[in-house]
């Protein structure tokens, strides 16, 4: 059991989401920085699909009622070692309150957070009020069950994962790579050039549904009626005011605004790492390049998994 001493600002149970239900209007959901959660899970020997905690801006204070093996990945937390296995005795308290740069950090625990599966996932869907822990963000006094794990670990892990797998410090002007979107042609030359040349700023009132941007308005040249159409994670939607919104994991399944571009899947985890007021710029890539960058990330993660499996198999060797 894990007891919530203080909940933090927005701490939710998340896994890799619930694909398969978008045709029922159910968002795919899941960890915004899925790569960080997968790495934290890999460190403690969990499956990719195990549920962990997504902690936002100011994290929780937790008490572990039984011994636990945990790992953290994402934005650095003051006073806590990142990207390595931490072996906590019964009664240990862990404070994740001081997340640096108001970012997001993911906590994985060996065995996973054990909440009921809803529509094939343990992710919290906040707007729908289901999944995760009672369909809501954590509160003081909540007690989270932990799944079974055969984990036996060294008292102090001698290794950690390279921080380059989850680059927290993005550049002041972060480049996001995109493919042209399904309504790209609607926008006309001037708006298209603006998209590639202008900088945008991440607005603070962004949530798990969308990342709001501010900048020189992107005006749609073609004033035509938009029929609500499917959207994807990373769709760059442009409402009539010309200020784009990047859709995140909890976004609706259909959208009524033209989509000028789509963030490539390799850059989706970066979206969760952008800070309010951070400047961004878009760079157009080809489908072949997007597929290449995705393969690079998948290969790096597979290598990490294999490396950790190797370490575990030698554990206890003289």
């Amino acid at each position: 059991m894990i007891e919530v001493i203080r909940p933090g600002i927005l701490t939710t149970v998340q896994d890799l989401g619930r694909p398969g239900w978008r045709s029922s209007g159910v968002p795919v959901g899941g960890a915004l920085d899925a790569m960080a959660l997968r790495i934290a899970n890999a460190i403690v020997g969990n499956d990719d699909a195990a549920a962990g905690l997504e902690c936002t801006v100011r994290g929780p204070v937790l008490r572990f009622l039984a011994p636990a093996h945990v790992a953290l990945a994402g934005a650095p937390v003051e006073g806590v070692e990142m990207l390595r296995e931490l072996n906590l005795p019964a009664g240990a308290e862990l404070s994740l309150e001081n997340i640096q740069r108001a970012g997001r950090v993911y906590l994985a625990v060996a065995g996973g957070i054990d909440v009921p599966m809803v529509l094939g996932s343990r992710s919290t869907h906040l707007a729908g009020g289901f999944g995760g822990f009672e369909g809501r963000a954590l509160r003081t006094g909540d007690q989270l069950a932990v799944g079974r794990s055969g984990r036996v670990a060294e008292p102090r892990a001698k290794w950690s994962v390279s921080a380059s797998m989850v680059p927290d410090v993005l550049s002041d002007l972060q480049v996001l790579r995109v493919l042209a979107g399904p309504q790209y042609e609607w926008f006309g030359e001037a708006a298209q050039q603006g998209l590639w040349n202008e900088e945008f700023v991440v607005m603070p009132m962004s949530d798990r549904m969308g990342l709001r941007l501010s900048g020189e308005p992107v005006r749609c040249a073609m004033q035509r009626e938009m029929i609500s159409t499917p959207v994807a994670l990373g769709s760059l939607q442009v409402p009539p005011d010309g200020q784009p919104i990047i859709l995140l994991a909890d976004c609706q399944t259909l959208g009524g605004y033209p989509q000028i571009a789509t963030i490539i899947s390799a850059d989706i985890p970066s979206l969760a790492r952008l800070r309010p007021r951070q400047r961004i710029r878009f760079e157009q890539v080809s489908l072949v390049e997007a597929q290449y960058h995705r393969r690079v990330i998948d290969t790096a993660f597979a290598a990490l998994r294999a490396g950790l499996a190797e370490k575990m198999s030698h554990h206890g060797d003289p």
Binding site: P19, G20, W21, R22, S23, S24, G25, V26, V28, V118, L119, H125, A127, G128, G129, F130, G131, L179, G181, P182, I227, S228, T229, P230, V231, A232, L233, G234, S235, Q252, T253, L254, Q259, T262, I263, I264, S265, L287, V288, A290, Q291, R294, R295, D298
Partner: protein
């Protein structure tokens, strides 16, 4: 049919440029055909009014160009497996209480449409609607078929919370809000039918292509049972 990519993990197939029952039915038929011969690595098949999205995991689909593989699968399915003959979906009759306390906007909408509230109710419940798309929130069905004389623009200021089961009209559509979400449609009735329940084996009462009729009842209590 027009194929576009929506990022590197989704194919968007556009089958028309208007909201039309015939087009949405063709989209629903293609979705059904794709489901019957599901391709490994495909995560979601999402039919909307005039377009269909196929979300996939490139690792699961495999090959040098997973996008191409998914596109070819859709093309082959659209040519081989669909008769494109109009077939009816399932038909549901949903009891609705149009009583004043269940219908906060009924009188105002009736005034705008220059008809008596009881005529609006009679008209709204005399039509067989078709689910054109699921979206907006879990279990929310956009119903097509609202006659032109019942169409009003959405509310200038959306409500921040709409009671679950509220029956609304807005623009071309009518529909039922499954959960207490924000909403911009005019509320003209309410039902106790549960449109979405994640604990049910089939969480959504409705799916794209289904036919829906509304049956007026005297009280909200009477709407608890599907006839």
């Amino acid at each position: 049919m027009e194929y576009r990519h929506l990022g590197d993990c989704c194919v968007l197939v556009t089958m028309g440029e208007t909201i039309d029952e015939g087009i949405s039915q063709r989209v629903a038929q293609l979705a059904a055909a794709l489901r019957s011969r599901w391709l490994h690595g495909v995560l979601d098949i999402v039919p909307a009014f005039s377009a269909l999205a196929v979300h996939f995991d490139p690792n699961g689909v495999g090959g040098a160009d997973p996008m191409q593989r998914v596109t070819e699968w859709i093309q082959a399915t659209s040519m081989a497996e669909i008769s494109w003959v109009a077939e009816s979906g399932r038909t549901f009759t949903i009891p609705v209480c149009y009583d004043e306390e269940c219908a906060p906007d009924l009188i105002e909408v009736a005034l705008r449409l220059t008809m008596r509230p009881e005529d609006l109710v009679t008209r709204h419940s005399s039509i067989t609607y078709r689910v054109g798309a699921m979206g907006f929130s879990p279990g929310f069905a956009y119903l097509l078929g609202l006659p032109a004389d019942l169409q009003v623009p959405r509310r200038a200021t959306p409500r921040t919370r709409v009671p679950p089961g509220s029956v609304g009209i807005g623009g071309l559509f009518t529909g039922i809000y499954p959960s207490d979400t924000p909403g911009g449609w005019h509320l003209i009735g309410r039902t106790a039918c549960v449109m979405f329940d994640p604990a049910r084996e089939d969480p959504c009462l409705l799916r794209t292509g289904d036919l829906v009729r509304f049956l007026p009842t005297a009280t909200l209590k009477e709407t608890e049972r599907l006839p």
